[in-house]
Structure formats: C-alpha cells, structure tokens
Symmetry: C2
Subunit: 412 residues, 2 copies
C-alpha cells in the first residue's frame, strides 16, 4: 500500500529545523509494511496546502500529515483540510471541555484562538492528544485515509501510539521482509559490482544500498504473497550476498561497527586502551557513545611528541628516527597504551589528517594504525583521501575494523 | 523568487536517514533571499522522479535536487532529468578523464558502472566535484533552473561552494540582510522570551531561531528596498538583540563554539590539555575536527579510577573520599592534566552520562567540570537532563563555554 508524509510549516521550508518527524513517520510506516514513496514539506500557505493534499490524495492510500494545528493565525491545516474535502468545520464540545480543563490545570488563560483547536472538518474522527492541547484527526480524502498530527514530536508520537498504530497495523499488507547487512572496507560501487546479478536471480527481491560514510549497508528486501514467503525469498538472496561479501560484513541488522567491536571484546572478557593522534579522540567518542566502561579503560589523545612520550612511553629516539607518523611509532603507541593502562587490547592511530602537514615522503592522508593484543601487535598503513573529517573517520573505522577482525578471529 | 528542494532516495522515504541536506539547502537558499515553499523527497523510482521534476519546474524558479547520482542501478536522477527534459544523455570525455585519474590516484579499479557518472543530459552545465566522484549538473527545465547534486553532504556543500553559490547570489533579489548570533546556555523558549517585542519595534525585521542542540542561533533577517537599507535595518535590530542576550552570545556568523575557544586561546598563546571522563573524548573530537595542534597538546580519556591516577595523578584518596564524580576530582583532573601535559589551560569533566549509574545523592546527569588556568581553577556542576548523548553534549559545551569565558575574560 502506498503511503506519503506531508509536513507543514515555514520553519521547515526555511531550514530552521531538521525534519525528524518525517524520518520517524517514514520509518514507522515502512516497518508496518507500507511503501512510502513521497515526503512533502510545504510552508504555511493555504493554497499550496490544499493543492498538496488534493494531489497526494489521488496517489496514496495513507497520508500522515504533521504541523499547522496550533492556535496562531499561521496554523492553517484544519481549515485547508476542510476546504480540500469541501466540508465545513464543526466545533467539537468535548474537545472544548478538554482544552478548558487543561488550561485550568496549568493555570493558563484560555484565549479565543485556542478554541480554534476544537474545530474539525465535519465527519472527521478526532484523535485525542494526551500530551498536549491540539488533538489530531483523521478523514477520507480522495483515495487516501489522511491522519493529521500536531508538529510537536512528543505529541505526534503519543497520538500515533494511542489512536493510529493499531488501526494502520490492521490495514497494512504483511508481505515484506528485509535483511540488512552492514559492511566496511569497500566503496559502494565495488560492493554493487560484487552483487551483480543477485536481483535477477531472485524474483521479488530488491537490493538497496545505504552509504553512511564510510560504511555501506546492503538491504535485501523481498516481497511475497505473505510474510513467510517474503522471509524465505529475502533469506535465500541474503545468503548469496553473505557468501559474496564475506568478511567485509561486520554485522547484521542495527548493530553498528562499535557494537560489533564491543560485543567481540565483551565475549572474551577483554579490556581496551586507545592511543589516538590524528583522529583526536574520535575513536574514544565513537566507543563511548554507548556505555563502554565495562571494557574501555581509557584513551590518550597525544597530539604532541612530548605527550606521546609522557603518557604512553613512546621512546624519544623512535620519534626522532622514524617521525611521529610511522609504523614504529604506531606500534610503540599501541603497546605503550596496552602497558600503561593495563589493557588486554589497544588501538593506536597516527597520521596526517590535514589540511596541511603532508610531504612527498609522507603525503597528506597517510595513516599508520596498530592493534596490540595478547598474542602480539598488528600494524597497517594507508593513504586516505578526502578532507580532514573524512581522513579521521576512515582511519577510526579502519582501526576499529582491524580490532574486530583480531578479536573475532575472522579473516584479515 | 520561488525555490524548492527535491531529495531523491529510498533511504529517505523509508526513514533510514534524517534529511539534513534539505535543511541545509533551505537555510542556505533562504539566507540568499529565495522563498523556499516546498521540499519534496521521493523514492528511487523513475516515473515518480520525472513527475516530481516536471511538476516542480512549473512552479519554481530554482530547484536544488540531491541524490541519485551514484554508480549503482538504483541511481536514476541523471536519466530521469534527461527524460523529463526530452534530452539524450551524452558521455563527457573530460569527466571520464577526471574519474579515471581519481581512481588511479586512489589505486581503485574503474568498473563500467562508474562511467555512468560521466553521463549528462545534452547541453547541461557540468558542476565538477572536488570532494568525490559524481559531478553535479545544472539545466533549465520549464521555468526552473535545476541544480543536481550528489546526496553525500560534503560533496553537495563543496559543489555548492565552488560552482553554485556565486551564480545564485547574482540571481537572488538583493534586498535581504541577515545577522546571525550564536548563543549557548539558555533554552530556545527563554531566548525567545528575552527578545519579546524586538520584531514589533523593527519593521521589516524577522527574528528566527535555529536550535542545533545545545546551541540556539538567533537570525535577525531584514528586508529593505535595497541591500544597504536591509543592512541598516538588520544591524539596528541586531544591536538590541546583542544588548539583551549579553554574554550568552559566544560568536557571530559561522564561527562555532570550538572556533571561538580556539581563537581565544590562540590570541593569548595559550596551550590546552583535556581530561575527560563521562564525555569520553567528545571535547577532544570537537576540538580536533578543525586543526588544533598549535594549541591542543593532548587529552586523557580516563574512564577507570586507576587510569585517572595513572595518567593524571588524581590522588587515590580523593577518589575514595569524594567519588569519581565530584568537585574535588574534577579539580584534581584539571590541574593534573595541566601539570602532566605542561599546558597553560586544562578542562576536566567527570559525570554520570547514563543510562545507569545514578544514585539518590549523585543522580543520573550529574556532571562536574573544571577549568585550570594560569591564575587558578574554576569548577562548576549541574544535573543535565536527557539521554546519554544529550548529557555528554551539554557537558562538553558547558566546559568549553566556561573555558571561553575565562580565556576571553567575559562575564561569568
């Protein structure tokens, strides 16, 4: 079933807020089995709102509409919905009572414009709002069932939960299944080529890609006559994808690279220390975005040579002889972090993230990284391309991926 | 002039990514003086893409279109633009050469699908991409000048900067001037309250807010009969705003809090060391997103008590007596980092970011932070509300803002 999201508000079209409501609604509708093919955001303008409602109601079966239900003069959604459907607005006494009660409770004074929020197109189903003043509503328009929500995320979600989710679940076709495979180490074009022909060999299966730099997620989506049929089709294709991509798949579903690393370390009771130079704390920040105190002991971000020596015991001679960006120093940083912090595993990264600092021998983007583990130390190097942020991100992912491969014993 | 944004990609309509490109484009177009009245996002579907392009090209003068320029089979934008305009695709030899060069440079193998990125609708202006493989392009369609960009934010912004901004500036009505004031420390509703009545006192001036957690940007936008008139109106209102908001304004224009801190430290030849516990390297990561090696010596991310002592010399007795999350330990971490790394200034942060670890005496969200400077040490504490990421972010900003106030000698 085709679905769409319509978001109303000049704050969106002027770029003043990021439209997270649209993302949430699309994700939720997709999970229920709807095919969301369109999101429209328009400014607070009556003719444009009516035009969008009419146009979208010809195409989609379900439309989720947010915003413009407030009390001010630029809140035009209810009025426009009535005009689009050719229905008069009717004031709802039960809603007036609820609004009055709410205002008394919070000691606020009711003004005339607040009563506007009790107006609904004649015949619409009112969707009470337990988290705020403005109720939502629902009505048929063209071929579409249209749900209207306030723009405040917490109110939208509350109304959805209380009055919409069950209704849409009953309506949704349950014949879609998706497998998500997360990869790191190859660009999107190469991953695409590695999967050449898989779609053709598996009817009903679509292979999609989502690049969230530097990761590529491969989505194997199948449609079937029912959910079981879809699942069987998706899994058959996913198995081919797993075989072809091998160890560049670091996890499935919503597990992140950080999650995969954390799980591998936890599984073997390992502890981790970090020594970061050019990544400047990015690896530490990535790991500590989720609780990490059970395996992560600490990190030393050592920008200057003196501090590489002071905090990690990197020999001054090594820095002088090979330079801070070298295999030798990466190894000394990793073993130094492992030793100083008493960790079983350690990651070290040293490189030239730019925008300046490159030389003919050591170009911009050159990064050395090393992982110290109970059985020894492994070092790698590469010249990454891009701006400072990309080089830092590639280096952080590469080092985490090396640790993942070592900790899981997977093919390096 | 009417403008619109069109974003292409099933990852958007399925709710897999938040569409920050749309927000950035709308904000940028609005700042140039365009009236953005519509954002459309559609899935990777040829007929729907063609329909959206044709429909929007009847309404708007400028359309910025992102996504679908990649090498895979679900990248349909170029092809659809050609079909919408009735123009054949032509392969551009110069682009092929650039792509080949890029692949050689990075040691990657060019595959047939990559050459697709050198195809453009006949007569389109190619917009070279200095940050990636896929160039953008620009063509007339209906009444609209349509710009096509890759969906990768850094590539979109680079092409915009290199080839589009100047062109649109020349096209835009030159009677708008905007002053941007960046604040930290008060919620949007309080900032709004502090500026009550300013719009009414200044005809032609609109005050807008952009919340990018935890910062609030105040945009003072004026329209006038010409650019000078608009500038005078905007500056008059901005002066009132500056007076009312005082020292919660940390910078103007596009200067970030990190930029303001870095500038203050550089101005006095200061050096900085960091000691992070609950923020887990976030402050280090924020500072090193831009070149920082001239003032930032290093950071110790000390998750465990042992490492607070080993790397920063925090007395074990202090940890035992007051606990790791305490004013005493924050001060010992700051002075320890200052001493161990030989820095003039140091920041320390210790707290409970959650989701677990709170107690009745030390609730979830409690954070102590301290700044050591040549004249002494200042400590602060607060209970922040929200999830782990929000608490970490609030704590990092609060500590950076304290350092900014100390380093600039502004009112604390």
């Amino acid at each position: 079933m085709s679905a769409a999201v319509l978001c109303i508000g000049t704050e969106i079209t002027r770029g003043e807020i990021v439209n997270t409501n649209a993302t949430w609604l699309c994700d939720t509708l997709t999970s229920l089995g709807f095919e969301v093919t369109e999101i429209a955001s328009i400014d607070d303008d009556r003719p444009r709102l009516i035009e969008a409602l009419l146009r979208m109601s010809l195409v989609h079966e379900v439309i989720a509409c947010t915003g413009g239900l407030g009390p001010t003069t630029d809140d035009l959604t209810t009025e426009s919905a009535g005009l689009a459907a050719g229905l008069p607005l009717v004031r709802d006494p039960a809603t007036i009572a609820t609004i009055q009660q709410r205002f008394r409770k919070f000691g606020r004074t009711l003004v005339a414009s607040n009563l506007k929020q009790a107006d609904f197109p004649s015949g619409a189903t009112i969707l009470p709002n337990a988290a705020g003043t403005a109720p939502g509503f629902c009505m048929q328009l063209g071929r579409a069932l249209v749900f209207f929500f306030p723009g405040v995320p917490v109110e939208l979600k509350r109304i959805w939960q209380d009055h919409v989710e069950a209704r849409l679940k009953a309506l949704a076709p349950r014949c879609i299944f998706q497998v998500r495979l997360r990869t790191f180490g190859q660009p999107e074009s190469t991953v695409g080529q590695m999967l050449d022909g898989v779609e053709q060999q598996h009817p009903g299966v679509t292979i999609g890609y989502r690049a969230s730099f530097p990761e590529i997620e491969v989505k194997v989506l199948a449609r079937g006559v029912d959910l079981d049929d879809a699942r069987i089709r998706a899994e058959a294709a996913a198995n081919v994808v797993r075989n072809r991509l091998g160890s560049i798949i670091y996890a499935e579903g919503s597990v992140t690279l950080v999650g995969a690393v954390a799980a591998a370390l936890r599984a073997r009771g390992a502890t981790l220390a970090l020594a970061e130079s050019c990544t400047g704390g990015l690896v530490a920040h990535m790991l500590t975005s989720e609780p990490a105190s059970d395996y992560l002991l600490g990190a030393a971000v050592t920008y200057s040579n003196e501090i590489k020596t002071a905090l990690l015991g990197v020999p001054a001679e090594s820095l002088q002889e090979h330079g801070a960006v070298s295999r030798e120093v990466a190894i000394a940083m990793a073993t130094g972090a492992q030793r100083t912090m008493g960790a079983s595993h350690a990651i070290a990264i040293t490189g030239i993230a730019g925008p300046t600092g490159g030389t003919p021998e050591k170009p911009l983007g050159l990064v050395h990284w090393a992982v110290a583990h109970p059985g020894g130390v492994v070092a790698r190097e590469r010249v990454f391309v891009g701006d400072r942020g990309r080089i830092q991100r590639m280096a952080a992912f590469a080092a985490l991926d090396l640790l993942r491969r070592i900790a899981t014993g997977s093919d390096q």
